[in-house]
């Protein structure tokens, strides 16, 4: 009876070790691809977009002595890119984790923590501007580096709790990029962040692509 059920359910036919290895390899690869929240192409695209956006800001400010601020026209472009990137990340993550329960999907509290940190970054920026802190910090080092350091640290903590060590390494690498940007000053900070994001995101893309093929 059980054999009959098996034959019917599996479509019958023989199944040797070679075929089993093929089915196992293909199924594992497909499943890993479908469960991956940030596919390699997306990380690579984000890396290139970051390099172009931050690179454009660096080209804009590199001739300023003393440092003033990036051209106002670049701000909506940067905010627009950030919104597109965040929206696409949310859509891709939702699709990958559809039907998945447990550690992988983000919990509302974790989303709230990251949202509050982003909000805090802008509030502090407003306070710094309000208190008359120098332009090189308010319009240079702080907006370039603070998101990477603050959000990177929070994300590393969230991912460490889940045991997602690739995401932890990626987040800590972004924190280091932020720290390096602070050390280089308001003009070069933009280029350091652009190149740093490009390297980290392309590295992630390569690691994920490799693990999906394994």
């Amino acid at each position: 009876m059980n054999d009959t059920l098996d034959a019917a359910a599996s479509g019958g036919g023989t199944f040797d070790a070679q075929q089993a290895a093929q089915v196992l390899g293909q199924t594992s690869q497909q499943a890993r691809r479908q469960f991956e929240q940030f596919p390699p192409w997306f990380s690579a695209a984000r890396g290139i977009a970051a390099l172009l956006a931050y690179g454009a800001v660096w080209l804009d400010v590199r001739g300023q002595h003393p440092y003033a601020h990036p051209t106002a026209a670049l701000i909506p472009v940067g905010i627009g890119l950030g919104i597109v990137s965040a929206t696409m990340a949310t859509v891709l993550a939702r699709r990958a984790t559809s039907g998945v329960t447990g550690k992988t999907p983000l919990r509302p509290a974790e989303v709230a923590i990251v949202s509050v940190i982003w909000l805090g970054i802008f509030v502090v920026l407003g306070l710094l501007a309000g208190y008359g802190v120098s332009h090189s910090i308010v319009y240079g080092v702080y907006p370039a580096a603070a998101p990477l350091v603050a959000v990177g640290l929070a994300w590393a903590g969230i991912m460490a709790r889940r045991g997602n060590w690739l995401a932890v390494a990626e987040s800590l690498a972004l924190v280091l990029v932020g720290v390096a940007a602070v050390a280089t000053g308001p003009v070069w900070a933009w280029l350091v962040v652009g190149v740093g994001l490009f390297v980290v995101l392309l590295g992630r893309s390569a690691i994920v692509a490799r693990s999906q093929r394994a």
Binding site: L24, R32, G102
Partner: protein, 99 residues
């Protein structure tokens, strides 16, 4: 070495697909019956037959929960099931390496 060294419970195309798909999730995560069905491309009846067999052997664990008026069944690979797939993969490698 012959094919009979392979775990007969996993050495069925559909069950191998089920176990390999669930193993791609991190330990502790579960997958809804409907997403698993979409990914494997089986009819619900067929999938239930195979899931029952795997659950009887403690390779998977299924849980039914109710969200409003919708009943959701989730399936996860147990630690024992993960070990069984590891042993199956190892046996398969040895078998193919010996060819």
């Amino acid at each position: 070495m012959a094919d009979d060294t392979l775990d007969p419970l996993i050495h069925v195309p559909t069950r191998l697909k089920i176990v390999a798909t669930l193993a791609a999730l991190p330990d502790g995560d579960a997958l809804s019956f409907t997403r698993l069905q979409d990914m494997i491309g089986l009819t619900p009846g067929n999938l239930i037959i195979h899931l029952r067999k795997l659950e009887e052997a403690d390779y998977i664990h299924s849980k039914k929960s109710v969200n409003g008026s919708v009943s959701i069944t989730t399936v996860a690979l147990t630690g024992y099931g993960r070990e069984a797939l590891g042993a199956y993969t190892k046996a398969l490698r040895e078998l193919l390496g010996g060819l």
